[in-house]
């Protein structure tokens, strides 16, 4: 009986997916309008998109920009967040600036950045970088702030330098929190990617989505929604697995990302 229950709970997200698709199918059948195809029709349109060479290249280019933007953001934000968490001065220096930038939609900077850098990869990657940075900084900051003071004292008593303490004590202790930030960042990277491509209609997954909307190819619209949605869910699940492995020692506080979304 136990393994049945275990299997059920592990497959629960899958059931939820199927349930939502079923709901969609039912709603589409009841409404029966052209602009709302059934789930089956949308799923049937997916192979055509993924089989088409041009759109596949587009989607892969999107993913590459996302990966680069995300890695750069993580590389910059984690050290900054950790330093902010350990030093009141650094925190006081950066906090107000971050608070001002926070409510600005990063993808909305796209038109301005496009004026300076053109519509190419650099502009889009920069926007993704900006979008991912803030949550990662914030979570690293919170994580570093919560490190137990005694561990740092004993580190200092053993003669570790400040930089070494940051890497050997603060970083591992704050890792669960940092990874929570990264997980939020991954979803945000996807969101910024889609929006930036939708504003600079030139290439990418967001471009396919909104172009097909303009051209009235509703099957493609919904198929792209499924593809992008699946990317989000897949990346999140993969990251969660990585997180569970890296910080096995820390109790999982919550198995769903708590912040931002």
């Amino acid at each position: 009986m136990n393994w049945v229950r275990g299997l059920l709970s592990r497959l629960a997200p899958l059931w939820a997916c199927l349930g939502l698709l079923g709901l969609w199918q039912a709603a589409a059948l009841i409404l029966n309008t052209d602009s709302f195809p059934t789930a089956l029709e949308a799923i049937r349109a997916i192979p055509a998109i993924l089989g088409d060479k041009e759109s596949l290249i587009n989607i892969l280019a999107s993913l590459r920009r996302m990966a680069i933007g995300f890695s750069l953001a993580v590389a910059v934000s984690i050290p900054l967040g950790l330093m902010m968490g350990r030093s009141r001065g650094v925190a006081a220096f950066f906090n107000p600036l971050l608070m001002v930038i926070y409510p600005v939609p990063k993808a909305a900077l796209m038109p301005i950045i496009m004026l300076w850098l053109g519509v190419g990869d650099i502009a889009k990657t920069l926007v993704i970088f900006l979008g991912v940075s803030l949550p990662v900084i914030y979570h690293s900051f919170e994580g570093a702030k919560a490190v137990e003071e005694k561990m740092l004292w004993s580190g200092a008593a053993m003669g570790m330098s400040a930089a070494k303490r940051l890497i050997r004590i603060v970083l591992p202790a704050a890792l669960p929190e940092i990874l929570t930030g990264c997980r939020t960042g991954i979803v945000l990277a996807l969101i910024t990617m889609v929006t930036s491509e939708m504003i600079a209609r030139q290439s990418g997954a967001g471009n396919i989505l909104f172009n097909s909307l303009d051209m009235g190819q509703y099957d493609t619209v919904y198929a792209m929604i499924i593809i992008i949605g699946a990317m989000g869910i897949g990346l999140d699940a993969a990251f969660e697995r990585l997180r569970a492995r890296l910080v096995k020692w820390s109790e999982p506080g919550f198995d769903i990302p708590l912040s931002f979304a």
Binding site: A16, C17, P103, V187, L213, G232
Partner: protein, 255 residues
């Protein structure tokens, strides 16, 4: 923290903002960027003040704020209700949890075309998008707050003869309040961002639409104005929420 340290902190915090403004001005003054691409900060802020006085601009702000509040309100109501229900009943939890796990990491902007097709290009599609995006942080933090309420509090309420459904409102909801408000704060920032983006994609009014029109006609000054306005709106709303928080959480240790 004493008053002196606080004022030092504020001074320190102003430095980077002032520095970035100075850098901005310097780039323009020394001719690294043409004024058409990067207008000097003085021009932008003058333009902002001038625009704020016009009724046209005020109407755009009003349209944006209406969508923002409508979406955010839906998200708060649904998020708190579903979050509390999921924390209170294992049966609801078993249904809600997997659905949330699937929907939370889904990029909601990608759903926007579907909302457009189903609800039209008016207010509704934007409000629903804002609600969909702000819902999950509020729902999750409500659930988290409500499921970590100390069991002893519930037991003592039961021992005092409080009916089960009243425990939810008299014990669980107040105890989960700090967590709920944290979720609301995140949801509010997301609402600001999303409403702006939705207006940029398809709209005939609102701040996002202003930015797009300015971008189409290469009016760099007018592109900065809506961006600064949404940042200011975000700061003001955040401040209001902070005030509401310290009112609602009076009596809690370390707010």
């Amino acid at each position: 923290m004493n008053a002196r340290a606080l004022s030092t902190d504020i001074l320190l915090g102003i430095v980077p903002i002032a520095l970035s403004l100075a850098l901005w001005q310097a780039i323009v003054s020394f001719g690294y960027a043409p004024v058409t691409l990067l207008p000097p900060p003085g021009t932008v802020f003058m333009r902002l003040l001038q625009q704020l006085a016009t009724t046209g601009f005020q109407e755009e702000i009003a349209a944006t704020l209406f969508r923002l509040f409508a979406g955010f309100a839906i998200a708060v109501v649904l998020g708190v209700v579903i979050g509390l229900a999921a924390a209170a009943s294992p049966a609801i939890n078993a249904v809600v949890r997997p659905i949330v796990r699937v929907l939370a990491p889904l990029p909601k902007v990608a759903l926007y075309p579907a909302f457009l097709l189903l609800l039209g290009f008016g207010h509704e599609s934007k409000i629903i998008l804002v609600a969909a995006d702000a819902l999950f942080p509020i729902l999750l933090s409500t659930y988290y707050g409500a499921s970590t309420v100390e069991q002893k509090l519930i037991w003592s309420a039961m021992a005092a003869g409080t009916p089960r459904w009243q425990i939810l409102f008299k014990v669980v909801l107040p105890a989960a309040m700090p967590s709920i408000l944290t979720g609301c704060r995140i949801g509010l920032v997301i609402s600001c961002i999303v409403v702006f983006l939705a207006e940029m994609i398809t709209s005939t009014d609102g701040l996002g639409h202003l930015l797009v029109t300015a971008a189409r006609t290469f009016q760099a000054v007018d592109m900065f104005v809506p961006l600064i306005t949404i940042s200011l709106l975000g700061l003001i709303l955040n401040g209001l929420l902070q005030a509401a928080r310290s009112y609602l959480l009076r009596g809690f240790p370390e707010v």
